[in-house]
């Protein structure tokens, strides 16, 4: 028995990530862009979890894991650069 509503929630999360990309495109400062990119990263990880448990394939979970672990690196890098200590 598959749950068809999981794919609906997944598409909803992807649409939210696209809305966050609007702020990434027009944000007035670099910090705004970075925050929007981080939020889009988290939302896409959620959508990956939902797609994975809908289709029953474990490979999506690995992609989400790597995305969640490497999402911190660019945020730290941009933060240090803005502070002027890179």
């Amino acid at each position: 028995m598959t749950m068809i509503e999981l794919i609906g929630f997944g598409i909803f999360f992807i649409c939210l990530a696209l809305c966050a990309l609007i702020r990434l495109a027009k944000g007035p400062t670099p910090a705004d862009r970075m925050v929007a990119g981080d939020a889009a990263d988290n939302l896409i990880c959620c959508a990956m979890i939902l797609f994975s448990i809908y289709s029953g394939r474990g490979i999506y979970l690995d992609i989400a894991l790597v995305g969640a672990m490497l999402g911190i690196l660019d945020t730290m890098l941009v933060g240090r650069y803005l502070e002027g200590r890179l």
Partner: protein, 115 residues
């Protein structure tokens, strides 16, 4: 059958909080308030969705490795989000980004001038 309703409710709560965070990112008036709204996405939005995913993988799919991996993903996002928020907030303030409207209290700016 009852477990499916519980999973649906959990994922719907996560989607509602993610929607609130995204609206906040799009419409909040200044940079620091947008950061607060993005924390809303990373905590309850991710947490409720992954709890639903863990329940689905453990009870309906009978797959322990998928459940453990989803739990690790949620733990990673929860653990690494404060570091990034801290670095971005401090860097933005040191770089001279100020909100357009004057803040009510600004102890950090007052103490930075004295240095």
């Amino acid at each position: 059958m009852a477990i499916r309703i519980v999973i649906d409710i959990l994922i719907a709560i996560g989607a509602i909080f993610a929607l609130a965070g995204t609206i906040g990112i799009l419409k909040m008036p200044d940079t620091y308030c947008r950061m607060q709204a993005s924390t809303c996405v990373a905590t309850l939005g991710t947490l409720c969705t992954s709890i639903g995913g863990v329940l689905y993988a453990a009870i309906i799919m009978h797959s322990a490795s998928a459940a453990v991996k989803i739990a690790v993903i949620a733990l990673m996002i929860i653990l690494t989000n404060p570091l990034g928020a801290h670095a971005i907030a401090k860097g933005a303030y040191r770089n001279g980004i100020r909100p357009e409207k004057e803040m009510t209290v600004d102890d950090y700016g007052r103490d930075m001038k004295n240095e």
